[in-house]
């Protein structure tokens, strides 16, 4: 077979271009056989090779004092003190979820959990960042995805403590499902998936291998079109029960020092897990006998076995001669384990089927060989501008508030998160519903705050700024609990990067992320890229860089939540407000507009505000704190009241020119919080604010069972709650 003679159709099937094929032949100095072609196809897919995004991702900062493990392993890890490391990562499962929402989302959760387990960590929390088309047309997606996430997380017994849900037209055919998992491990027990030690055994543990998901990784690297449903056998069915047993068995491995490394099997199955594991060690290779792989079905070929994406499997590198110890641990959990090969020092992945040779490829060709794709970015058309003078003035702030709270992007998420077990583990000290959730580290006073954030409408209107705003919002969500932001994981969801305007969005987004993370001194320790989120090239998604963030508080007894606490407390707005209506929910809900520029972000001011709130929290001045985000000041204030079950009495708002009334109530200026405190704490807060050069303004006094702005409106809390909770149930 020569480069010319290979069937074009076959190349498409394995998602390789003729150019890539030529590169393979050149490197091997021969044509690859069928199995080799399949193996290279999956590993060179965008999903595994990052060939379109690698160059850009290098710009993201990943170093920091607390970082123990940056990108490159199954998950990132940061030191949180007292001997503990927090391990976390976010990952997309968009394409499978578009085809089969329940199983797609469920197996997405299963996959990200295995990444954390592979680091030797016990998973302690899950988050899910979701994007759907408008309701009710998207309800099939919403129902399936939410049920799938709950189905997996609830069964395996890891609390799902946070996430986000947004509805926009652009996600109608391309729903996004990004799942994040956070785990804990003693620093000295942190594992790395490196196939060290020639002669050590490779054991495959967990589920038997079936024919599921062959070419799943390539599938995730294509646009969805009419034929997608024919590729549906790529959809896999998760088994959370089996993964629970796998999790416990892997935790039990800590009792033996016979284990050198653990690597999960994800996209591209055995091929990628073995290649990646060997690829992390200079000169290492692996020898695999597919005949030894336990199978679920009869009639599977070596091709199937090497490419299967059967879920709930792990590769364990075991010191030679100690396989029985490891087998016993898995056996105790009724799990199959099989020695399927060993580590070599020839830098090649050799696959045999009993006595028969099946494939032999250089590890470096598999993991690093894909020629980077050089794409060009061209700035997208400027989105429609916003003529503020043409906007009709705000007539009835109260009525607008009710409409905003009842809109799908702002309404209560309780209808969703009550379907997730968010309490198992006895560690959730801040449950979902406010800003970040918080988990205590048992046996210490440490609290880990976790959140995911991204306003993709901002990113659509200005990707560079939008990405920065996502980082800033995530940080504010962490800070609103009293915790310090520590590190970031990111899931970059884009449309087809072959389109210059999409590639430009990628460039801008990544530049914006990098810029903001540098300003916040936040390392990005793990992440994931999902491309081709456009169905048949028509409906491209907004650039959606989901920021997952972890923060730390040294004593969770000092944590803050969003709800007002006591009658008579002062309710303050920290930070200042501009005419920031561009890209706002107010514009969309009240005026049907997606227009303008997102709010400007002054990173220095943002940091000053953050420092003030953290200092105030540290000194015990605050009763509550809440981030002011979508929907602006009034929506945030209403949330503080609803979450605390206490109303608020405020004097009329009379914004000073040039601030408009609508922007004062509903503008989305960043760098703002709503806090409450007792009157006694006021002087100290005022002096802190002066010291940090941050503007603070008194909004009103907590109390009563309504929200009122003297002479402007008064709404009973019960009515507000009905609007807020009625929308998403």
């Amino acid at each position: 077979m020569t480069a010319q003679s290979v069937d074009e159709r076959r190349l498409r099937e394995v998602a390789l271009t003729p150019g890539e094929y030529r590169a393979i032949v050149e490197e091997l100095k021969r044509a690859p056989n069928e199995v080799e072609l399949g193996m290279l196809g999956v590993l060179w897919s965008e999903h595994c090779s990052y060939k379109s995004s690698k160059a850009l991702l290098r710009r993201l900062p990943s170093a920091g004092a607390a970082v123990i493990q940056g990108p490159g392993e199954n998950a990132g890890a940061v030191n949180i003190g007292e001997g503990w490391a927090a391990v976390f990562k976010i990952e997309s499962h968009n394409h499978p979820s578009a085809i089969e929402p329940y199983q797609g989302a469920a197996t997405g959760v299963g996959g990200i959990i295995r990444d954390v387990i592979a680091m030797g960590a016990r998973p302690i929390a899950l988050l899910d960042s979701l994007r759907f088309g408008p309701q009710p047309a998207s309800s099939h997606h919403v129902e399936g995805v939410v049920a799938g996430i709950g189905g997996y997380g609830n069964c395996i017994g890891i609390p799902t403590v946070g996430g986000e849900v947004y509805f926009e037209d652009c996600y109608a055919n391309n729903p996004l499902v990004n799942a994040m998992c956070v785990g804990l491990v003693r620093v000295e027990r942190l594992m790395r998936a490196r196939a060290e030690g020639t002669g050590n055994s490779l054991m495959l543990v967990g589920a038997d291998t079936g024919r599921d998901g062959i070419h799943g990784a390539s599938f995730a690297s294509l646009e969805l079109d009419e034929t997608s449903s024919e590729r549906r056998p790529a959809v896999q069915v998760g088994n959370p029960f089996l993964e629970k047993c796998l999790l416990e068995a892997c935790m039990d491995l800590a009792h033996t020092d016979a284990v050198v490394a653990i690597q999960d099997l994800g996209a591209a199955g055995l091929t990628s897990s073995v290649a990646e594991c060997a690829g992390r060690v200079d000169g290492a290779g692996a020898h695999i006998d597919v005949a030894r792989v336990p199978r679920r079905e009869r009639g599977m070929t070596p091709y199937h076995v090497m490419l299967s994406e059967s879920q709930e499997r792990m590769l364990v590198v075991v010191e030679r001669g100690r396989e029985a110890e490891v087998e016993a641990i898995f056996q105790a959990w009724d799990l199959t384990s099989a020695v399927i090969g060993h580590v070599t020092d020839d830098g090649h992945l050799t696959v045999v089927d009993g006595a028969e040779k099946v494939a032999r490829l250089p590890i470096s060709l598999l993991t690093d060989g894909a020629p980077p794709r050089r794409l060009v970015g061209v700035a997208a058309e400027q989105p429609p501008g916003l003529d503020m003078n043409a906007l009709p003035p705000l007539v009835d702030a109260g009525a607008a508030l009710l409409r905003l709270l009842a809109s799908p992007n702002l309404s209560s998420r309780r209808g969703i998160f009550r379907r997730y077990d968010h309490m198992v583990g006895d560690a959730t000290v801040i449950p979902p519903g406010g800003d970040a959730a918080m988990l205590r580290v048992k046996g210490t006073r440490l609290g880990l705050a976790v959140t995911t954030d991204c306003n993709s409408r901002y990113c659509h209107l200005d990707p560079h700024l939008g990405a920065q705003l996502a980082v800033a919002e995530a940080a504010r969500n962490i800070i609103a609990t009293g915790a310090h932001p520590l590190a970031v994981t990111d899931c970059l969801n884009f449309a087809n990067p072959d389109r210059p305007e999409v590639y430009w969005e990628m460039e801008e987004t990544i530049a914006g992320l990098a810029h903001a993370c540098r300003a916040f001194e936040l390392p990005i320790v793990s992440g994931n890229v999902s491309l081709y989120n456009d169905s048949s090239g028509e409906s491209a998604i907004y650039p959606t860089p989901v920021v997952g963030m972890v923060g730390l508080i040294d004593d969770y007894g000092k944590r803050l939540s969003a709800g007002l606490r006591g009658e008579g407390d002062f309710v303050l707005l920290i930070g200042s407000s501009q005419n920031d209506l561009g890209g706002s929910e107010y514009l969309k809900v009240e005026h049907g507009l997606v227009a303008g520029r997102p709010p400007a972000l002054d990173l220095a001011r943002e940091r000053a505000v953050d420092r003030l709130v953290l200092a105030a929290a540290e000194n015990g001045l605050l009763q509550s704190a809440h981030d002011c985000a979508e929907g602006g000041m009034l929506v945030a204030l209403a949330e503080c009241c609803l979450l605390g079950g206490i109303g608020v009495r405020c004097p009329a708002i009379r914004p000073e020119v040039p601030l408009r009334m609508d922007a004062a109530f509903f503008g989305e200026s960043p760098s703002r919080f709503i806090v409450s405190l007792s009157s006694r704490a006021m002087p100290e807060l005022q002096s802190l604010a002066r010291r940090h050069h941050v503007e603070i303004s008194l909004l009103g006094l907590a109390g009563g069972d309504s929200i009122q702005f003297e002479g402007q409106f008064r709404l009973p809390l019960a009515e507000i709650r009905q609007a807020w909770e009625g929308a998403l149930t």
């Binding site: 089969e100 024919r211 549906r232 056998p233 959809v235 069915v237 088994n239």
Partner: protein, 86 residues
């Protein structure tokens, strides 16, 4: 009349439930069991003029709601004299 619909996981699709039930049966001593698949049974009471009509309506129900054709197969029978067993 009654339509009796059986929905089963497609043969290539993983069936964790079936696998686990098989293991459960083995523990109970039913070692002669080599494979178990678990699906759904749906009994639909409906009105229709003819069996032909019933057939085409139930076919449509299966396609649209009762089975998830990504991972499941279905089959059904129509019982013209069937009535609710209550």
């Amino acid at each position: 009349m009654i339509a009796r619909v059986i929905v089963t996981p497609k043969p290539v699709v993983n069936d964790p439930q079936g696998i686990t039930v098989k293991q459960g049966l083995a523990t109970l001593g039913f070692r002669e069991v080599s494979d178990v698949r678990v699906g759904k049974y749906i009994e639909v009471n409906l009105e229709a003029e003819t069996e032909h009509e019933a057939r085409s309506r139930v076919e449509a129900m299966c396609k649209q709601l009762l089975a998830n054709h990504v991972i499941e197969d279905y089959r059904f029978e129509i019982d013209m004299d069937g009535h609710k067993r209550r």
